[in-house]
């Protein structure tokens, strides 16, 4: 699979349209039936700088981004200098003829001749790429028609003319680049990024309230909700700060809304008091934390997996919580639905830990099966015994009947102070123990419902690459590379990182020949959590914290370094 894939990197300044080219090409490839993973690298600025939009495409399947480049589209002169060391032996560079190829193999594209206006350079680049990849032009022309239909037939025709001219010009150059093999996927595919999949999964679970304060890369979850809010009847409010966002969500949840907030590490740091409040009020909220490198403002547009500790320990006092960490698009959708369901069932804060890489990573996927989603528990709008209703009734499961105020002729009282079963504040220390025991009993239910880690391959006698969240694809590809080198290797992936159920994975770790934790942070946060909960000490660690996502090459190189 690795050898057959083509890695296309489009580089240029912010504002030059590289995302337009990238998204057009990615969508056309997905519609044609190809598998792909997109990685976006951008700087914290609106114009200028140097950004890339990388598409790794394959006829069969693709798991992760890769470091080497087969087609480099240089929209700025910097692109060549920055990326020429990553070109493969078969690589071609596509640069503006006006700037030249700097002696590299490739095509100097006469944008000036092909385009009546610089505005059309994106279409010319698409034409060249489409021709080199031998992509049926209909996939791109169809998209162009859809995208520009609103702007009128003249605009559509002008864009298509440039696209056709660029394809013809490329054919005349007889550039040697192997065509993509015919795609293997049949039927309709979707193309979306991780945060879109999270938002859609949450919407499928009936999320109807969303409050937020904008922060990259968490915002695109809310943006997706906003895009569909009118159609689905979702109330969205941009709060004055993250504290307000999470407290507003809790107010809405108390009044019967299904609430989601989305942020990143720095914003989540402000939300922490709301997390503790959710635990005490036993009012559900789903919080998406899209990780980026810290501390403080860190690298605002790059990726990391270093907020597990923050989310795990966020909030003073002790209360149950669940933390999901999707590894791919399908998990983004499914786990977002599950997070909403878990929050509603256990009346607790529930987290989705994603990161910039997954957030911005467009991938192809089969359509999600809406009909197969389980029902989501909902709060009560009526109770049998109106006079005897107690919001915090003590139950064996710890879960109390959650009545929404305003429907039944009784009141619903929540208190952030320790409270009696009917919700009123108390300083009776005996009641405190009863209520704390009740709340913490919910953790038992969460453990019963917890997802075990997924084992890819055999654990016994292998090098077991253990990971969580978005590292899944790179770890799977690294294990395959290791096997090809004669090293038996498998992957253990945690898509839920809390609560952990040791029985579901300790025997696997024990059976492995060598256990390696691969995670995108300096300190080995999941490794330490597993050590604390099970005593297992990993034999080796592969850490990445330079702001870039894992690739199989990075993992294998680090393992070889460790072995040396």
């Amino acid at each position: 699979m690795a050898a057959s894939s083509v890695n296309i990197v489009i580089g240029g300044e912010a504002g030059q349209g590289l995302v337009t080219v990238g998204e057009f090409l990615a969508r056309a490839l997905a519609r044609a039936g190809y598998a792909l993973v997109v990685t976006q690298d951008y700087q914290s600025r609106i114009r200028g700088g140097h950004n890339t939009f990388a598409i790794r495409v394959d006829a069969k399947g693709v798991l992760a981004p890769t470091d080497s480049i087969d087609l480099l589209v240089a929209l700025s002169a910097d692109t060549l200098a920055i990326h020429k060391d990553r070109l493969t032996p078969r690589a071609l560079v596509l640069a503006d003829a006006a700037a030249g190829l700097d002696g590299l193999p490739g095509l100097a594209i006469p944008y000036k001749d092909l385009c009546p206006k610089p505005l059309y350079e994106n279409m010319a680049a698409l034409g060249v790429l489409g021709a080199l990849l031998c992509l049926d032009p209909a996939w791109i022309t169809g998209l162009v028609r859809e995208k520009f239909a609103r702007k009128g037939e003249d605009v559509v025709a002008a864009n298509l003319a440039v696209f056709a001219a660029a394809m013809d010009w490329t054919a005349s150059q007889q550039a040697a680049f192997a065509c993509l093999a015919p795609p293997t996927h049949q039927g309709k595919r979707l193309l979306l990024h991780g945060n879109e999949a999270i938002a859609l999964g949450a919407l499928a679970a009936g999320i109807n309230f969303c409050s937020f304060y904008p922060m990259t890369p968490g915002t695109s979850v809310v943006q997706t909700v906003i895009d569909h809010a009118d159609a689905l009847g979702v109330v969205v409010e941009q709060a004055e700060d993250e504290i307000a966002a999470v407290i507003m969500a809790l107010g809405a949840a108390y009044a019967g809304g299904r609430a989601l907030v989305s942020t990143s590490g720095g914003g989540f740091a402000l939300m922490v008091e709301g997390v503790s409040l959710s635990g005490m009020l036993e009012t559900p909220v789903v919080i998406v934390v899209a990780q980026r490198p810290g501390p403080a403002t860190g690298l605002p547009t790059r990726t990391e997996q270093a907020d597990l500790d923050l989310v795990l320990y966020a909030g003073h006092g002790e209360f149950p919580r669940a933390i999901f960490a999707p590894g791919d698009l399908s998990q983004c959708f499914q786990l977002a639905h599950r997070a909403v369901s878990t929050a509603e069932q256990f009346q607790s804060p529930v987290f989705i830990l994603t990161d910039q890489f997954l957030a911005d990573s467009f991938r192809d996927t089969e359509p999600f099966a809406l009909a197969e989603l389980p029902p989501v528990p909902r709060p009560l709008t009526a109770v049998a015994d109106v006079g005897g209703y107690e919001r915090y009734a003590v139950t064996p499961s710890g879960v109390s009947p959650r009545l929404v105020p305003g429907f039944a002729a009784t009141t619903v009282v929540l208190d952030s102070d320790e409270h009696t079963p009917d919700g009123h504040l108390t300083e009776d220390l005996g009641v405190r123990v009863v209520m704390q025991d009740k709340r913490m009993r919910k953790l038992g239910g969460m453990m019963q419902a917890a997802l075990p880690p997924d084992l890819y391959g055999e654990a016994a006698g292998t090098m077991l690459l253990t990971c969580w969240g978005s590292t899944l694809g790179a770890a799977l590809e690294a294990a395959q590379m290791l096997r090809e080198r004669g090293e038996p290797a498998s992957v253990l992936h945690f898509s839920q990182v809390y609560p952990l159920v040791p029985d579901t994975f300790v025997p696997l770790l024990a059976a492995a020949r060598r256990t390696v934790m691969v995670e995108g942070n300096f300190g080995g946060q999941l490794a330490k959590l597993i050590r604390r909960e099970t005593g297992h000490v990993f034999d080796a660690h592969v850490a990445r914290y330079d702001g870039l996502p894992f690739t199989a090459g990075f993992i294998v190189d680090k393992l070889l370094e460790v072995a040396r």
């Binding site: 309230f209 105020p405 009282v413």
Partner: protein, 279 residues
């Protein structure tokens, strides 16, 4: 059988003589006058002695965190516009920790009534300066006198064109009850800053001090006149006006959902079409 007082009688944790008792009486009188059933009324509060007030009235209560009564109340109102929503807390909670939320609530003009128990001091934490403590007033933690200019919530609210701005006095329950009822009836954000002695920690602004100074605004004050409202908001010292200083005809925050979110189901047919659009 309907209860003699549907809003209940409760034991409180307040100091004898506290202004909170009078404010509670005024709130109950307003709810009674408006004939609001307890289960249709929600109080959101923060932290402090004032924030305990909703516990001593039979209504729905969201007693949350310090400074956060307004975001919670906003979420409640947005999730179910059929509820009559109040936020209630002290001056420290409302204007200190909750200052940003106060500004945002005015800007949104969210339809709720904000009752601030303003005793110009932190009571529950035993006597530190609050955002409304007069400049130079000595406290245990400001032994050289409060060093900062006091916050003027009424002037800020009038300047920003809040929906409804009033000042009440805990020593004039009947008047205060009328203000609360008027505030509830106003569509949009309604602030009632209630002057209230702290019998334990504020030895300057006592009942006698207020009684000597507070006067009810008469019919000659036009609450639609913003300049006059600002003048009244700035009047403090020998004479302190109480009553409705300002009322605007700004539309309340919207759009709000047509039905409570609790009864909404996701439209899977619409969602299916949305998913298709990602092809």
């Amino acid at each position: 059988m309907s209860a003699a007082t549907p809003y209940g009688e409760f034991e409180t944790a307040w100091c004898p003589g506290c202004g909170n008792f009078s404010i509670r009486k005024a709130v109950v009188a307003a709810l009674t006058e408006l004939k609001l059933p307890p289960h249709k009324v929600v109080f959101s509060s923060g932290i402090g002695q004032a924030a305990k007030a909703p516990h001593y009235i039979r209504v729905n209560v969201f007693n949350g965190l310090h400074g956060r009564s307004l975001p919670a109340a906003t979420g409640i109102k947005l999730a179910n516009p059929d509820l009559t929503v109040f936020a209630e807390s002290g001056d420290g909670c409302s204007y200190g920790e909750g200052g940003n939320h106060f500004l945002a609530a005015i800007r949104r003009n969210i339809d709720l009534t904000y009752i601030v128990h303003d005793n110009l001091i932190y009571g529950l934490t035993k006597g530190q300066a609050s955002p409304t403590t007069p400049l130079g007033q000595k406290t245990k933690t400001q032994p050289h006198g409060a060093p900062s200019q006091p916050f003027n919530p009424l002037a800020v609210a009038v300047t920003m064109g809040a929906g409804f701005v009033a000042r009440g006095f805990a020593g004039d329950i009947e008047h205060l009850a009328g203000l609360i009822a008027a505030a509830v009836s106003h569509p949009g954000f309604a602030l009632i800053d209630v002057l209230q002695p702290c019998v334990s920690f504020n030895k300057v602004n006592t009942y006698a001090w207020y009684k000597e100074r507070c006067y009810r605004l008469g019919n000659d004050h036009d609450p639609a006149d913003r300049r006059a409202a600002l003048e009244k908001a700035l009047e403090w010292g020998e004479k302190i006006p109480i009553g409705i200083l300002w009322k605007s005809d700004r539309p309340p925050f919207g759009p709000t959902p047509k039905a409570p979110l609790a009864t909404a189901e996701p439209n899977m047919a619409v969602l299916r079409d949305i998913l298709e659009s990602y092809a």
